[in-house]
Amino acid sequence: MELVRRDAGRVAVVAVRAPRLDGATAPQFKSYMVELALGGAGRIALDLSGVDFMDSIGLASLMSSVKTLGNRGEIVLFGLNDKLRKLFAITKLDRGVFRIFPGEAEAVAALDAA
């Protein structure tokens, strides 16, 4: 798994380059995100276009990142394929917990306005 950070103004754009965010890769993702949040990044846009499969362990690693960040910022998501969108819909995490955008421009603009 490769995690690539690029800053767009005040927003940290993090590309998740792993075909699967699951039990095998979630621990590495989680520690990266926790470090990022504790390091002061508050506005985080996650690019999930490189992720083909995600399960509840992947979701749990995202949720624990949100919890670490607490009220000091927000994690928004973009680039989800239809399968990931379905997973967020089934678990209702697309209603209020995560704002999901089609692309980076929309995600960054939303965080800039926050």
């Binding site: 039990g23 399960d55 509840s56 362990i57 749990a60 949100v66 997973l87 089934i90």
Partner: protein
């Protein structure tokens, strides 16, 4: 369920669940399911395996988990077998509709797996007898026969 079956077995490690998930995905794609339907079945298998590894085997590697996939005209059945600690059947009965989280504190820490399985599959049952735990999941689906390889050279 009448039909054709394939038996798979993986070691009880979270980084091995993808093997079984991908195998199921590949089989059901071959039987005409689209990518989205195949994903949901792959997800159900991976979630069920994750539960076995984490709870029945308490994260211990080196234990077998068996998956029996049966495809028939009416749909498909998935059966998982393990020899670990039995699950409290009440957990399966309680899992269901996932509540809409209203705040950060509402976020579930775990237990999403069973709820996902129940949403994805039509019927889910669990039995533990003489040290063998069996989780059985079925789904009605319109399956088509796999395309035969082209004949000739």
């Amino acid at each position: 369920m009448d039909g054709r079956s394939i038996r798979l077995s993986i070691d009880s490690r979270l980084d091995h669940t993808a093997l079984a998930g991908l195998a199921v995905h590949g089989v059901v794609r071959g039987f005409g399911l689209d990518e989205s339907e195949a994903y949901l079945l792959e997800l159900a298998v991976v979630e069920a395996l994750t539960n076995v590894i984490r709870h029945a085997y308490a994260g211990r590697a080196g234990q077998p988990v068996e998956i029996l996939l049966t495809v028939g005209e009416a749909g498909l059945a998935l059966e998982l077998r393990d020899h670990g600690r039995a699950m409290d059947p009440g957990l399966l009965a309680q899992a269901g509709e996932i509540p809409e989280p209203r705040s950060l504190d509402d976020l579930p820490e775990g237990g999403l797996g069973l709820a996902i399985i129940k949403q994805v599959m039509d019927e889910v049952s669990y039995a533990s007898r003489e040290g063998v735990n069996v989780l059985r999941m079925t789904k009605s689906l319109k399956l088509t026969s796999p395309r035969e390889p082209a004949s000739g050279a």
